[in-house]
């Protein structure tokens, strides 16, 4: 009897989850051609960048004392070592081979294989951005909801004004302001870095300022977005009905109104993730935080084709996954969409 109950539970769970897995699998399959097209665009654009990457990489002083034959031989060796002696189409497939085998090619600026360092840069960006992202939502949701519920009250006006101030402040300015206050004046937080070389400060204090900048620069927009979504939902007939039924205000707001307000919020979450990584260049630069933003900035400066291709592909895949997340999220919160898409 117990066993049957257990099996029944598993079956129900499977029946609930399987359509989602099938949907995700189906979407992933359809993403493949998109990834291929994006990769062709990225690769082509980067190959079209002016300048010979090998000649740009070699410091002319290095070859200054070589004879002409030695110099040509050296350049050709470098070209061969880095695979630039092959036609573009062959290089494209070799690049894909590298990507699929997690090699990602070679960085001419850092003079080492990309797979030796790309992982740590991705992780560093994830650490600071995901923490910032989660915190921003945890703070923005209650404030946005309260602001919508208390529309046009003093609370709402204060939140609106603060949001406008937050939207107007560029993140680099906010970062420098926080550094000035907490590191230079109060001297309670480190200026930059990820870890204390003297081993005195715990690692988490190094997250406080960069995460704060990410949270503060995201918060204002998010609050405005959630507030507006909630205001729209709160006008709906079913909310009035819920209240008329005598449901507690908390239940009306959080169970009925907020779930429906989540649909536009999910859209913003989906787009927020890649935007966070792309937009973290400034934060990572000011805090000497070795993440993807900083890496992309360096790669652009040195015209490091291998790194640029890899980073751009990473952003493209991240955006595609964010889209997938949006679609699955819609289905989770909206039964109408679930009925249409998840069968």
């Amino acid at each position: 009897m117990e066993k049957e109950k257990q099996q029944g539970k598993i079956r129900t769970l499977f029946d609930n989850v399987f359509p989602y897995l099938k949907y995700i699998g189906n979407r992933l399959f359809h993403l493949l051609p998109v990834v291929i097209i994006i990769s062709i665009v990225i690769f082509t654009l980067i190959q079209l960048m002016p300048g010979d990457p090998i000649l740009a990489m070699i410091n002319p002083e290095t070859t200054a004392n070589m004879t002409e034959e030695q110099r040509v031989a050296y350049i050709e060796t470098m070209r061969k070592v880095l695979g630039y002696d092959k036609p573009v189409i062959v290089r494209y497939f070799l690049w894909w081979k590298d990507v699929l085998t997690a090699n990602f090619g070679y960085s001419v600026a850092l003079n080492k294989p990309i797979n030796e360092f790309i992982g740590s840069y991705i992780m560093n960006s994830f650490k600071v951005n995901i923490v910032g992202f989660v915190l921003a939502f945890l703070i923005a949701i209650p404030i946005g909801i309260k602001s919508a519920v208390k529309k046009n009250t003093r609370y709402d006006k204060v939140v609106t004004v603060m949001s406008m101030v937050g939207i107007s402040l560029p993140s680099f300015f906010m970062a420098l302001l926080l550094v000035l206050l907490f590191s230079a004046v109060l001297r309670i937080l480190p200026f930059s870095g990820m870890v204390d070389p003297r081993g005195v400060r715990p690692e988490y204090v190094y997250y406080i300022l960069p995460v704060s900048v990410i949270v503060l620069s995201s918060l204002a927009g998010l609050i405005r977005y959630i507030r507006n979504a909630m205001i729209e939902v709160l006008k709906a007939d079913y909310i009035r009905t819920s209240r008329a039924k005598g449901l507690a205000e908390k239940v009306v707001i959080y169970r009925h109104a907020f779930k429906n307000a989540l649909i536009p919020v999910i859209t913003i979450i989906g787009f927020w993730i890649p935007a966070l990584f792309g937009g973290s260049i400034i934060v990572e630069k000011i805090f000497a935080w070795p993440g993807m933003g900083l890496l992309m900035n360096q790669a652009y400066q040195f015209k490091d084709r291998g790194v640029l291709s890899t980073v751009l592909l990473f952003f493209a895949v991240l955006t595609l996954f964010a889209n997938l997340f949006i679609d699955v999220g819609y289905a989770l919160v909206d039964p109408r969409i679930k009925a249409r898409r998840i069968k």
Partner: protein, 596 residues
């Protein structure tokens, strides 16, 4: 409410206990009030390439200097090279008595020398090192480069006597810097590692680039990518050229952002930063009583390079007229603020060849004063526009009056407009983004009209500009007559590499290290290059010929120097004897430094 307060209280406690670490040990201090043991040097980001031969980051190079200190010949604070402390003697002989200079150099290594890990340091390691870098194929396959094989032929190792003999292929005046400053590698450490991994020593070094073993003042204890390098004293270090050994127990070279580095120094988060060039940063450091500074002129600088084989700038008169048009004083004020000077040819004030006996390095000596300055100043020391204009027009008028060869292309019409091949005299200047404001504000439209040389300024990415400057761009794209850029001189300077006609390739056919594409007195370059480095006469000949060459370049002006930075190294005044200069970078100077 109580619950919220409790949560806030816990968070605040966590935060402040975590952040209060600086009480326990700030930069330059250790426990409580006892004598500091750690010096934290702020640096721009490093790649972690701590072996010579691969990438060229000067921040990596600083760590290499700490780990090795020098090669068979090691630097002094005056920019000279002397026998390293692990070398007992050097003998110079001639393979052929009729030769002008000694071409066989034998080094005797002291017995009992050790690397920082305890491995013996012998002549065998020296042989291993030179073989390592001279195996071009094995080195090239890992992306490494070396020019040692240009200078060195046969190498004889005498293990029994711990000596090594080099038969030089060519004896040039700067051979000691070019061939004998190479850091000696630990053959035991590298060979064992390479053998274990079944790869070549070059591949093994490439794979273990961040964990070198040297014999210098410090050894690396920990390296965290893009964050810091921690070093401690190497007990096996034999001392620098004065026999000095390090006094500061531990060093941390920490990556600090450009935006906050000075504030970090002032607040005591770090103990030192080097190479400050911006006026606001220098003034902030100088204005803080807890900060000491050393300043010196850069051993190099920024310039405009003319392509002397292209368009109107083929004529020296046009190059010089442009120099008079360009107000370098105004440019430097905009670009650098008040901390900088300009030279008048490719030299720096750190070169001994610039000075007579008794003259002070870093000052404007007699020889420098004798060169033509392309800024005519008025009685108050300001740029005299009228006088510069007069000089520029005099040069252009003289050139326009000539009709032979290229001069036929430069004419002056009835309105007084200068023409090149019948069109208004126009020069195209390629610059990178950082120069845009300063160049545009100096070469205003009014100035261009007045002087009669129109300037098209194009701002572009460095790699694109470099392709045009070095001649890698396709011929059909050739457009630019002038380029902005920077140069740093080596400790011993041989102008041949950047000024010989043999270093010019046809435009569009590859990288020319003679980027000015200037053909001057080739014989003079050879005289400078092949001066005998081991005699006083050789040194005197090097100096005399080098000066002749400087006069020539000053007169022909294939390159217009715009600035040489006045660098400031700033550090906590709790440290004494930390004397840096342009040729004695902080990794060398830190050896003598000590906490007060």
């Amino acid at each position: 409410m109580k619950k919220k307060l409790l949560i806030l209280g816990v968070l605040a406690t966590l935060l402040f206990t975590g952040c209060g670490g600086s009480d326990k040990e700030t930069a330059g201090t250790t426990e409580g009030k006892s004598k500091p043991t750690t010096f934290v040097m702020g640096s721009s980001n490093f790649n972690g390439d701590f072996y010579d031969g691969w990438t060229n980051s000067s921040y990596d190079a600083n760590v290499r200097r700490l780990v090795w200190g020098g090669g068979l010949l090691s630097p002094t604070d005056k920019g000279e090279l002397v026998l390293a402390s692990f070398v007992e003697s050097r003998t110079l002989t001639k393979s052929d008595p009729s030769m002008k200079s000694e071409d066989i150099w034998t080094f005797k290594i002291k017995d009992g020398m050790k690397f920082s890990n305890g491995d013996p340091l012998t002549a065998k390691d020296v042989k291993f090192t030179y073989d390592f870098y001279m195996d071009k194929e094995a080195l090239g396959n890992t992306g490494g480069t070396s020019s040692l094989d240009q200078y060195i032929g046969k190498i004889d190792l005498d293990e029994e006597n711990n000596t090594i003999t080099f038969h030089l292929k060519q004896l040039i005046y700067t051979v000691d810097a070019s061939a004998f400053s190479t850091f000696i590698l630990d053959s035991t450490y590298i060979s064992v590692g390479a053998e274990k991994d079944g790869i070549t020593p070059q591949q093994w070094v490439k794979a273990n680039m961040s964990a070198p073993i040297g014999y210098g003042p410090y050894k690396i204890d920990e390296y965290v990518e893009s964050q810091y390098v921690k070093l401690s004293i190497n007990e096996n270090y034999q001392g620098n050229f004065e026999g000095e050994k390090p006094n500061i127990d531990r060093l941390i070279v920490q990556n600090v952002p450009e935006e906050t580095k000075v504030t970090q120094l002032v607040t005591g988060e770090i103990d030192g930063i080097t190479g400050l060039i911006k006026e606001e940063n220098i003034d902030a450091a100088k204005g803080d009583q807890a900060i000491a500074t050393n300043d010196y002129f850069r051993h190099g600088g920024g310039q405009i390079t003319f392509h002397s084989d292209f368009g109107p700038v083929q004529l020296p008169e046009v190059r010089k007229a442009f120099a008079y048009e360009f107000d370098r004083i105004k440019f430097r004020e905009i670009f650098l603020g008040k901390y900088g000077i300009a030279s008048n040819a490719p030299y720096s004030r750190n070169m001994w060849m610039m000075y007579e006996d008794g003259e002070q390095l870093g000052t404007e000596g007699k020889f420098e004063k004798s060169l033509t300055s392309y800024d005519i100043l008025d009685a108050d020391g300001n740029w005299d526009e009228g006088a510069n204009l007069k000089e520029a027009h005099k040069l252009l008028d003289e050139a326009a009056a000539k009709t032979d060869g290229l001069y036929a292309k430069l004419t002056k019409d009835a309105d007084g407009t200068y023409l090149w091949e019948g069109k208004e005299l126009t020069l195209n200047l390629a610059i990178t983004a950082a120069w845009t404001d300063a160049v545009n504000l100096t070469l205003t439209k009014g100035v261009q009209e007045e002087f009669g040389i129109k300037i098209n300024v194009d701002s572009m990415d460095w790699s694109i500009m470099a392709n045009n400057l070095y001649g890698n761009a396709a011929l059909s794209e050739r457009k630019y007559h002038m380029f902005t850029g920077g140069t740093s001189y080596s400790i011993k300077y041989d102008p041949y590499a950047n000024w010989s006609s043999t270093k010019i390739l046809p435009y569009g056919k590859g990288s020319s290290t003679n980027s000015a594409r200037y053909i001057g007195d080739e014989k003079l370059l050879d005289e400078i290059r092949f001066s005998n480095p081991s005699t006083e006469e050789g040194t005197a000949s090097y100096k005399a010929n080098w000066r002749k060459w400087i006069v020539e370049v000053n007169e022909d002006l294939p390159l217009l120097p715009l600035y040489s930075n006045n660098y400031y190294d700033a550090y906590t005044n709790r440290v004494e004897n930390f004397e840096t200069n342009a040729l004695w970078q902080w990794p060398y100077a830190i050896v003598k430094a000590r906490f007060k």
